[in-house]
């Protein structure tokens, strides 16, 4: 059976073969991703529930595990309402505009050594460019809805995203300087050695700023003034229902996972194992234990989960920033710190400071 499939596949022309392979890879990334989103929402409700001494969802399926499935089904069967006086095309197209970039970025994420859909040189730039397009979905949604709350939400987010993108970009410049490459795989390889070789240590301020800016970019608490349910109802997506809303929701969570995985790749050594350089080399040769302790995709997923947990933790802990405070933090605190730290990184590289930049 399997050989038969392969023989059919090999009879296709070369171009088609590559296309099919790429499509398969895309599916292999997207399906787990969407499942992750589903269970991230579940985890969110559970984690925040426990933090607030509640139980969270526990009725649908064993221990509430089928809750996200139920939510999806509900959203799918709801009617999409298009408000009167709204701009119909833009109203429909804006969820697409917000999810497409969120998905497109995954093309360059390295899950393991060599395990990447598109191993391009300018990977980091690509990430920055594509994520910056995501804001259009939100802004257009806010404008096309023909609703005051939605427009206010869009206005807020427009300024916020542009402000934090600069800090984020500068943080990435630090990474690029440290690694000397824009290729995400090379960035991870540049961190190999031990847990102290990872860039979180020399780029610590940039690491923190990157992650906090990432939280702001994805509109999560405490930077979620664009939604701000207590002030502007639900912000830009107040008029959306059913699948159209679900797509926004999906995009937001995919972006969260993306920020988490990028933070792990750039500052916490991606797929590298924290035991590397600490345990003796021979440990990694032990059959199963070696696999677990050695580098691999599981470490990347673990690190990503940690950041995702932080997202939820923040949401349960911090009160929402006021708008002027957000702007102040972005422009007057983060950007100056990143610029100063870039100078420091430059000096560190120039001084060939070990263990990161010694001549070896």
């Amino acid at each position: 059976m399997f050989e038969w499939v392969i023989s059919i596949f090999e009879s296709f022309p070369m171009g088609l073969q590559t296309t099919i392979l790429i499509l398969l890879k895309i599916v292999a990334i997207m399906i787990p991703l969407i499942l992750c989103v589903a269970y991230l929402t579940f985890a969110e409700r559970k984690v925040i529930g426990y933090m607030q001494l509640r139980l969270g969802p526990n009725r649908v399926g064993p221990r509430g595990l089928l809750q996200p499935i139920a939510d999806t089904v509900k959203l799918m069967f709801k009617e999409i309402i298009i408000p009167t006086g709204s701009n119909k095309y833009l109203f429909i197209i804006s969820p697409v505009l917000s999810i497409a970039p969120a998905l497109a970025v995954w093309a360059v994420i390295p899950f393991d050594d060599g395990m990447v859909l598109a191993d391009i040189n300018a990977g980091l730039l690509y990430v920055l460019a594509i994520t910056s397009i995501g804001v259009y979905g939100v802004i257009i949604a806010g404008w096309a809805s023909n609703s005051k709350y939605a427009l206010l939400g869009a206005m807020r987010i427009g300024a916020q995203i542009v402000a934090y993108e600069i800090a984020m970009g500068f943080a990435l410049v630090g990474v690029l300087m440290a690694a000397g490459s824009l290729n995400l795989g090379d960035i991870v390889r540049g961190q190999s050695g031990s847990i102290f070789h990872w860039y979180w240590l020399p780029l610590f301020p940039l690491f923190i700023i990157y992650f906090v800016s990432g939280v702001a970019e994805t509109n999560r608490a405490p930077f979620d003034v664009a939604e701000g349910e207590s002030e502007i109802v639900a912000g830009f997506h107040v008029e959306y229902s059913g699948m159209a809303f679900a797509v926004f929701f999906l995009a937001e969570y995919i972006n969260m996972i993306l920020i988490a995985i990028l933070a792990s790749v750039m500052f916490l050594g991606g797929w590298l194992s924290p035991f590397e350089g600490i345990l003796p080399e021979t440990v990694f040769d032990i059959p199963v234990l070696g696999m677990l302790l050695g580098p691999g995709i599981h470490w990347l997923l673990l690190k990503t989960s940690f950041f995702l947990f932080c997202y939820l933790w923040f949401r349960a802990t911090f009160p929402r920033y006021r708008y002027d405070q957000i702007m102040r933090l972005g422009w007057k605190v983060f950007i100056p710190i990143t610029i100063v730290w870039l100078l420091v990184v430059g000096l560190l590289i120039l001084g060939e400071v070990p263990p990161w930049w010694d001549a070896a």
């Binding site: 171009g15 833009l90 391009i120 040189n121 300018a122 730039l125 690509y126 920055l128 460019a129 594509i130 910056s132 397009i133 804001v135 259009y136 802004i139 257009i140 404008w143 427009l151 869009a154 206005m155 427009g158 300024a159 995203i161 542009v162 993108e165 970009g169 824009l182 002027d324 405070q325 102040r328």
Partner: protein, 201 residues
């Protein structure tokens, strides 16, 4: 016809038609969005020319930041499109004349007479590991370092000018000083008063 050529023609068609839409649609927001599409299409064309750095930076800077702010402003303005269009027919003839002249000149200038393949050789294709970003960076920071620095100064002037022209400090506005708020001590807010207890009579 190779795949690249097909992609080129499709993208070029998108680019030209969306550029036309920018100046013909009635709604300023839609015009801005078509402009975004135009930028995006031109980024793809750059990508076809193996200039991936420029393509990505075009998306990053123009699509991701400049046009967002542009939309931001356009959304907040109440532009009366009909008034903008007054006199359109009146100026149409002269506009057409200028446009025709410009197109004619463009054709004479960049037509195949001057820039055909026989005049300028096809640039050589680079291998897959060719790093456009690095090549551009080393040119910019060595050969063109002086113009590059001046360009940076121009941006600095733009910042200074923008702030000088827009920042207003009105006397009656109340500003928050977070550092004061944070460093406030109990003594600044609460005054402990020692009062003699009331005596029962």
């Amino acid at each position: 016809m190779g795949v690249e050529k097909i992609i080129f023609y499709i993208v070029a068609l998108i680019m030209v038609s969306s550029a036309t839409m920018v100046i013909t649609v009635r709604n300023p927001i839609q015009a801005a969005l078509f402009l975004v599409l135009t930028f995006f299409a031109s980024a793809i064309i750059w990508m076809l020319l193996e200039a991936e750095f420029l393509a990505i930076v075009l998306v990053l800077v123009y699509v991701g930041a400049v046009m967002v702010l542009f939309l931001f402003v356009v959304m907040m303005l109440d532009i009366n499109v009909d008034r903008l269009r007054e006199g359109f027919t009146r100026y149409l003839p002269i506009g057409v004349v200028v446009a025709v002249a410009m197109v004619g000149m463009l054709i004479t200038v960049v037509g195949s007479d001057n820039f055909g393949l026989d005049k300028i050789a096809e640039p050589e294709r680079h291998l897959a590991d060719y790093n456009n970003t690095k090549a551009l960076g080393s040119e910019l920071y060595t050969k063109y370092v002086y113009p590059f620095e001046i360009a940076a100064v121009i941006l600095l002037v733009a910042i200074v000018a923008a702030i000088a022209l827009t920042m207003r400090r009105r006397d009656n506005t109340k500003y928050q000083k977070p550092e004061d708020q944070i460093s406030v001590k109990r003594e600044d807010r609460v005054r402990m008063v020692n009062m003699p207890t009331e005596k029962k009579k």
